[in-house]
């Protein structure tokens, strides 16, 4: 086996270990202190408060953080690959704008708000409509124009946010508050079915995306050259576009708009291990999961018992990390 594969394996194992560590730290942190020492006792006593906190609150939240962080980061890595543009991230394509608009409409209209599913569902439908718009406006027309796809995404995003502001200008302050909080993003999701859906669909998407690692590698040379290597670039790009949009839609609809993960994490992984998608996709997923579990743990402990919006943490930590990594790797760093 080549040295390269051993390096990749070690890298993935290292990320998995870090994820495991972060999960344990997150399980232990919070108002109710649980240490490694008393963990067996806590698990043995199913009626204790600690047991309930651990299994009903912290663990589901961690699972959701893994799913959402992984989904956003993976989606970013894929989109950067198909657009061959390092600054594309899941939200660039207007998915989050569409999702937020969907939620705003439902909140303003006040329909079906007693159901846990209503907001995520409306967010997801908003995301799907945006996806459909961007896709039909750019992909179906005579081949693929990546630049127009990108611009249409950005414009759809602007239109959606303007429409949302219009709705907010008509609403009561309580509704505005709800919309703003939803948009800021939170991993506080009480519904376990939604968490399960988010987790398993993200895992499924990760599994599918890995089969596209080779076409994504070929696309690093550009579409024309990838076709010269026998890759059906049209189909590949369409499938990957839909896949990454669905990943983003799921993440946004359960957790709101959590920025920076899809941009920052794939870049950091690229700097560390290189641009080969065979390791980059899984690496980005794990990196995103680690980052979001950590960010969420900070968000809910820094000003406990209150909670910071997780977007604040990801924006601050992610942005700073990005600046440090980029300035360190200097001019040697290049995407593709």
């Amino acid at each position: 086996m080549q040295k390269k594969y051993i390096k990749w394996l070690l890298f993935v194992l290292a990320l998995m270990s870090v994820l495991l560590l972060v999960v344990f730290v997150s399980l232990a942190s919070g108002e109710v202190k649980i240490t490694f020492k008393n963990l067996p006792d806590v698990l043995a006593d199913k009626n204790s408060i600690e047991y309930t906190v651990l299994t009903k609150i912290r663990f589901p939240r961690i699972v959701l953080a893994i799913a959402v962080g992984g989904a956003l980061s993976l989606s970013g890595a894929i989109l950067q690959g198909i657009y061959r543009n390092p600054l594309v991230e899941p939200y660039t394509l207007g998915i989050s704008g569409g999702a937020a608009l969907g939620v705003a409409i439902v909140l303003v209209a006040g329909i079906g708000l007693q159901s846990y599913f209503m907001l995520p569902l409306s967010g997801f439908i908003g995301a799907l409509i945006t996806l459909f718009l961007v896709y039909t406006l750019s992909v179906r027309r005579a081949g693929l124009s990546m630049n127009s796809m990108l611009l249409i995404g950005v414009m759809v995003s602007f239109v959606a946010s303007s429409a949302m502001m219009f709705l907010m200008s008509l609403s009561t302050s309580e509704t505005i508050h709800n919309i703003v909080f939803w948009v800021m993003g939170s991993l506080d999701e009480p519904n376990s079915i939604l968490i399960k859906i988010a987790f398993w669909s993200t895992m499924g998407a990760l599994f599918i995306s890995i089969f596209f690692a080779r076409p994504l590698n070929a696309l690093r040379l550009g579409e024309v050259k990838a076709r010269h290597l026998g890759i059906d670039t049209g189909t590949t790009i369409k499938i990957l576009f839909v896949l990454s949009s669905l990943l983003t839609g799921i993440a946004v609809s359960v957790a709101g708009v959590i920025g920076f993960v899809g941009l920052v994490i794939p870049h950091i992984i690229r700097v560390i291990i290189g641009n080969d998608y065979r390791v980059l996709l899984l690496g980005s997923f794990l990196g995103g999961a680690i980052f979001l579990v950590l960010s969420d743990t900070l968000a809910r402990t820094i000003i406990a018992p209150n909670e910071l919006p997780i977007g604040v943490i990801t924006g601050l930590a992610g942005g700073l990390m990005f600046i440090v990594v980029l300035s360190r790797s200097g001019s040697k760093y290049k995407m593709k």
Binding site: Q2, I210, G222, K225, L229, G230, G274, D276
Partner: protein
């Protein structure tokens, strides 16, 4: 198998309707030939390449490689038979070895994740043949233009094609590298029996290195033949609209084309 008709283009017209079109081009190339395509800018050289590689839709006519219709091949089969080296080897952030190994993509199964030892052996072989084995761990961005072209050729050879298409492989290079690359291609076509089709602007290099030349004019095939047949002042002046003088290289016996400046023209 008819060796004389290894690669055959029959009445090929291609391009987008309304855009530039290649008109009714027919030609036959034997196995192992090194063929240069010449003609002024806009004469259809690149269009012909795109017609062969399938980037542009064929409007009429057909292309046959070794008895098989190219239009009927899947993208993968095409990539196993035809390799393309473009003018500037556009590269990302990857090592030379990674880049050359990409030539094995057409042979890898859908769900194959790792390169086989055979893939690596083939890439090694062609890196050695093109003289870039020492650069294998270098980043493609760090290479000079000539080295990048060599890497591009190594990647194309790693596809183990029957037909190699080269789009102006020497255009940005100094004479040292021009000659190095053309000598290499010459050797490849002789030693590996590889059929090479190369777009080239420099008529003197075309005459010196190629077995035969295809001259295009405004989307039509003007002439195909040995360098001596094609590189005469009548044809060149008609196609390029430029006054030239042709002589024979005293050492190689190949045709040489001289240009004359306007100032000198006025004197004579």
């Amino acid at each position: 198998m008819n060796m004389g008709k290894f690669f055959e283009i029959k009445e090929l017209s291609c391009g987008y309707p309304g855009h530039f079109i290649l008109n009714n081009v027919s030609l036959i190339i034997e196995r192992g030939q090194f063929v240069g395509i010449i003609g002024p800018n806009g004469s259809g050289k690149t269009t012909l390449f795109k017609g062969i590689s399938g980037e542009l839709p064929t409007l009429t006519g057909n292309l046959k490689l070794n008895g098989n219709y190219i239009q009927k091949m899947s993208l993968k089969e095409k990539a196993q038979n035809i390799a393309v080296v473009t003018q500037n080897v556009e590269v990302g952030n990857m090592t030379v070895e990674e880049y050359v190994l990409m030539g094995r993509i057409p042979y890898q199964r859908q769900f194959q994740f790792f390169e086989t030892s055979e893939d690596i052996a083939i890439a090694d072989k062609y890196m050695a043949l093109t003289g870039i084995s020492d650069l294998r761990d270098k980043n493609m961005n760090e290479l000079s233009g000539g080295e990048q072209q060599l890497a591009g050729i190594a990647r194309a050879l790693t596809q183990q094609p029957q037909l190699l298409l080269l789009d102006e492989p020497t255009s940005h290079l100094d004479i040292t590298h021009q000659v190095q690359i053309l000598n290499l291609i010459r050797r490849l076509s002789e030693n590996l029996g590889l059929t090479v089709l190369m777009i080239i602007h420099d008529l003197n290099l075309a005459g010196e290195y190629c077995d035969s030349l295809i001259m295009l004019q405004k989307g039509n095939l003007r002439k195909m033949g040995t360098p001596h047949d094609v590189l005469n002042y009548q044809d060149i002046e008609a196609v390029y609209d430029t006054v030239v003088i042709t002589r024979t290289n005293p050492v190689s016996g190949k045709p040489v084309v001289f240009l004359v400046s306007e100032k000198t023209m006025k004197k004579v």
